[in-house]
Structure formats: structure tokens, C-alpha cells
């Protein structure tokens, strides 16, 4: 199923409506292993709806979503086992410790206890969270919670990492540390899809998909779209015009 040229993520003509409201319209994208794809859009652009389609939380009305060649609807198990997901809303159990939350997640992904212990240690170390493994999540600050969610998303060794506005509400230093870390994961070969409304989180080499009112209005390398300055201008035009430029 997964060939050498199989894209890590493939979305083809995906559409989704909620009643009369069209949240996504004919969205297509592909992402290769090692690619960092930033889905950029203002609130209401359809980023989270796209994210929900990619994670199988919602079904497409039309179109399809594939993860490493596995259709998210028809081969849900195979597709989800390759996906690491960081949701915008916190999904940690505040009454459990960091390692208990990680163990729970490992079990939900069918990882054996012995393997879990090994992977939890490695992922927490990667995110500088080892010292906090016995702390209750309730006692962690926002930045540490976010790091923990990223560590958790990596524990089953996914090949594709999806993050939905992961830096919302964090200070600049933590934001920068998390952004750099995830960019490094992409350089190491992981396919990353990062939904955001913050242009400064996008690197020069990243692929940018500019989403507006449920449609892709620009798609290309950040450098080709004029780097940060070009993206700011483009994003600003979209925001002010309220329509595709």
C-alpha cells in the first residue's frame, strides 16, 4: 500500500458543510515525508475542520483523505497508527501525572508496557520533560503542558505529525522553542502539518497553504510567496479583503 512515492498526506477535493454553512470547499493538498506544511488562515478559515478531517474525527462530504496511502475512513486503524496528533484544545487528564497520561495514551495505541516505558522516557527527554514525569498535569504551566502533548504525540513513533495551533496562549520563548523543535522533526524526516494564524512561525523552506473561507487561496513554498514579508502582506490582504486576493 505504502510505496516509495506515496505521499505522507494526501487530501483530494475535500469538502465539508455544517448545515447550510460550507466550512471547507474542494481542498486539495499533498505532503511528502520530511516536509513541513503550514496551514495558514485567520479564525474561521477552516483550519480546524481540515484538521478534523485529517484525524478522522469528521468525514468528508466529498473528496478523500489519505495518510501514507491509507484512506482515513476505510483504513482507519492503519491511518491513525501513523498519525501523531496535537489538538488545539488540551486533551490531557489534569488529575493524572505526566507519565500516567503518557502510559494511558500508549495503551490506547496498543504499545506494550515494556515498550511504553522505553518510549515515554525517550520522548520526555526529547522535550526536556523528564524531571516532570511524576508531576500532576494540573501543576504544569501552559508551556510544559504543550511540550507534554507533543511528547505524547510522538510516543508511538508516527510518520506524520499534525498540530492544530499548538502555540496558542504561549509566551514568545516557549513558542519559539516548540516551533524550532517541530521544524527539527521535519528535518529528521517526519511529515509535519502545522495549522496556525501566526506568520512568524513559518520557516523560509516550509510549504504554505493559505486557507480562507474554506478554500485554498495560495499554495507554495514560503520563499516563493515572498518569505515572511511576502506572507505578511498576503495574509494581511486576505484578512482585510475578507476574500481571496
Amino acid at each position: 500500500m505504502t510505496g516509495r512515492n506515496t505521499p505522507a498526506l494526501r487530501v483530494e477535493n475535500a469538502s465539508k458543510s455544517f448545515g447550510a454553512k460550507r466550512a471547507l470547499c474542494d481542498v486539495s493538498l499533498t505532503a511528502a515525508p520530511g516536509e513541513f506544511v503550514a496551514v495558514l488562515g485567520i479564525n474561521g478559515a477552516g483550519k480546524s475542520t481540515l484538521f478534523s478531517l485529517l484525524t478522522g474525527l469528521l468525514d468528508c462530504d466529498d473528496g478523500m483523505v489519505e495518510v501514507l496511502g491509507h484512506d482515513i475512513t476505510r483504513s482507519r486503524t492503519a491511518a491513525l497508527s501513523k498519525l501523531g496528533i496535537v489538538f488545539q484544545e488540551p486533551t490531557l487528564d489534569p488529575d493524572l501525572s505526566v507519565s500516567q497520561n503518557m502510559r494511558y495514551f500508549c495503551a490506547l495505541h496498543g504499545i506494550s508496557k515494556a515498550r511504553s516505558a522505553e518510549r515515554i522516557g525517550a520522548c520526555l527527554a526529547q522535550l526536556d520533560m523528564v524531571e516532570r514525569k511524576d508531576e500532576k498535569v494540573r501543576a504544569l504551566n501552559g508551556g510544559h503542558r504543550r511540550r507534554m502533548e507533543i511528547a505524547r504525540a510522538l510516543v508511538h513513533e508516527p510518520q506524520v505529525l499534525l498540530l492544530d495551533e499548538p502555540t496558542v496562549g504561549l509566551d514568545a520563548t516557549t513558542r519559539s522553542a516548540i516551533t524550532n523543535h517541530v521544524h527539527q522533526l521535519a528535518r529528521d524526516g517526519m511529515c509535519v502539518l502545522w495549522a496556525t494564524h501566526l506568520v512568524d512561525e513559518i520557516g523560509y523552506d516550509d510549504t504554505v497553504i493559505l486557507l480562507h473561507e474554506g478554500r485554498v487561496v495560495r499554495n507554495g513554498k514560503a520563499a516563493e510567496l515572498g518569505g515572511s514579508e511576502g506572507l505578511y502582506a498576503l495574509f494581511d490582504t486576505v484578512r482585510k479583503a475578507g476574500a481571496a486576493p
Partner: protein
């Protein structure tokens, strides 16, 4: 297969830990039936005469009669509490973690139901222990024989709760469940009065009570506590369990498109 079992055990373990962390939940689960036992049943003891009906072989006091119904009540409230937690998880986003597990949704559903039942069985045994201290004791074999009845009735009530939670859009709507589901289920059952007593006042009321799934749960527990088996209650309980589990599976198939239906787009 081991990974499937590990997944189920983790869901049960998490529910257990959540229960331990919410000590007030444990005490309120105990206080409710104990109030019924110590206050309500004590007051009704003199007013209510009960004839000898199976599984009883002699006259029993009202306190003894009411205990199986209170065990079922603990399970009913626990099932509703679990479904409330599901609505909360859905609103807060925690449900997404479960829904994006690669295991089949029907397995996650069964695990979630078993987790709730495990907690409710612990609550029932804690209640039976307090009742024993109060002087209401059952044959030793009954404490073991009641376990299958508690398991099946807990699963059935949990399935009802899950079907309800899938159809509730927000926590605010949950209050209606108390008025339209919990109270009618409890009062229109054999938890407080035997069926023949109901028939004396209204045959229609008796019929409604006999069709109530909660009545079958109560009767299965009542027989179990005396080390006996009621084929009728067991059969109906299994039928209701199958029906509500099927409804659950249908709801779960549609659940994913409901998780975000209130938030069109961001």
C-alpha cells in the same frame, strides 16, 4: 490481542483513578442509597406490608426488600454520571484522544462501558458492606452470585447512558435526564414496591413497571443476592442489553460527525 486487552485495561484504570480522585463522588454515591435505606425505608417499614414472593421464603422487612433496588439505583446513577462525563469530555476535547485511537470504536465503547460498570460494582459492594453493618445481611453465596447480575445490569444501564449522552448537545441539557429518565425509571420499577403492590393500585402501572428495564435489573440483583437465578429477569436483561448496545453502536458510528457539529469552522 494483548494490545486490545491492554487498551481496555487502561480505559478501566483511568476511570478507576478518576473515581479515586473524586472522593466526593464516592461519598455521594453512598449517601444517596443510605438515605433511602436509613430514612425512607425505616419510615415505611410499619406502613408497608409485603407478602412472601420469590426469592423470599419468609416475611422480610422493608429495609431488606429495598436493598436490591438501591443497588440498581447506584448503578443507574453511576451510568448517568458516566454519560455526563462523556458529554463533558466531548465538550472539553478529551473525547478526541479516545476517538483517534487506532482501535475499533466498538472496542473502545465496550471498554468505556466496562470501566463505568467496574466503578459501579465497587460502589455497590461498599453500600452492601454498610448495609451489613446496619444489620441487613444476605447469604454469603449471594455476595458472589450477584456479581453477574451487577455486571449485566451495569452494562445495560451504561449503554442507556451512552445513548443518551450521544444525543445531548451540551451539559446544560443534562438536567432534563434526571427528570425524564432517572426518576421515572427508578419510581416505575420494583425497586420500591413489588409488582403485585403496583397492580393493586393500577394494572397499567404494573404493566409499565414490568416493561421497565430497571425492573429487570432490580429483580436480577434481588435473586442474585439470595444465590438464586431468575430466568425471566435474566432473559429480559439480556434482551435489553442487546438492544441498547446495538443503539450505542449506531450512535457511535454517527458520533464523530457530532463532535464538531456545534463548531462549524475555525
Amino acid at each position: 490481542m494483548i494490545s486490545w486487552f491492554n487498551c481496555m485495561m487502561a480505559i478501566i484504570w483511568r476511570e478507576g483513578l478518576r473515581f479515586i480522585h473524586q472522593k466526593e463522588r464516592f461519598f455521594s454515591a453512598l449517601v444517596r442509597p443510605l438515605l433511602w435505606l436509613f430514612v425512607f425505608a425505616a419510615g415505611f417499614r410499619a406502613a408497608l406490608g409485603l407478602s412472601i414472593t420469590p426469592p423470599y421464603q419468609t416475611y422480610v422487612t422493608y429495609e431488606i426488600y429495598i436493598v436490591p433496588g438501591l443497588c440498581a439505583m447506584i448503578q443507574l446513577f453511576n451510568a448517568m454520571q458516566s454519560s455526563l462525563a462523556l458529554v463533558y469530555d466531548r465538550e472539553m476535547g478529551a473525547m478526541r484522544l479516545l476517538m483517534t485511537s487506532p482501535f475499533p470504536r466498538w472496542w473502545l465503547l465496550i471498554s468505556k462501558l466496562l470501566a463505568g460498570v467496574s466503578v459501579s460494582i465497587l460502589q455497590v459492594y461498599a453500600f452492601l458492606a454498610v448495609a451489613a453493618l446496619y444489620g441487613i445481611r444476605f447469604p454469603a453465596v449471594g455476595y458472589v452470585a450477584v456479581l453477574p447480575a451487577l455486571l449485566v445490569s451495569g452494562l445495560m444501564l451504561g449503554a442507556i447512558g451512552l445513548v443518551l449522552s450521544a444525543n445531548i448537545k451540551s451539559l446544560e441539557n443534562f438536567a432534563g435526564i434526571m427528570n425524564f429518565v432517572v426518576f421515572p425509571m427508578f419510581f416505575l420499577s420494583t425497586a420500591l414496591y413489588p409488582l403485585w403492590k403496583m397492580a393493586e393500585s393500577s394494572p397499567l402501572l404494573r404493566d409499565i413497571c414490568s416493561w421497565n428495564p430497571f425492573t429487570q435489573a432490580t429483580e436480577a440483583i434481588r435473586f442474585g443476592l439470595y444465590g438464586k437465578f431468575s430466568p425471566e429477569a435474566a432473559l429480559w436483561l439480556m434482551v435489553y442489553l442487546a438492544v441498547f448496545l446495538a443503539l450505542c453502536l449506531i450512535e457511535v458510528r454517527h458520533l464523530r460527525n457530532r463532535t464538531r457539529s456545534e463548531q462549524p469552522a475555525r
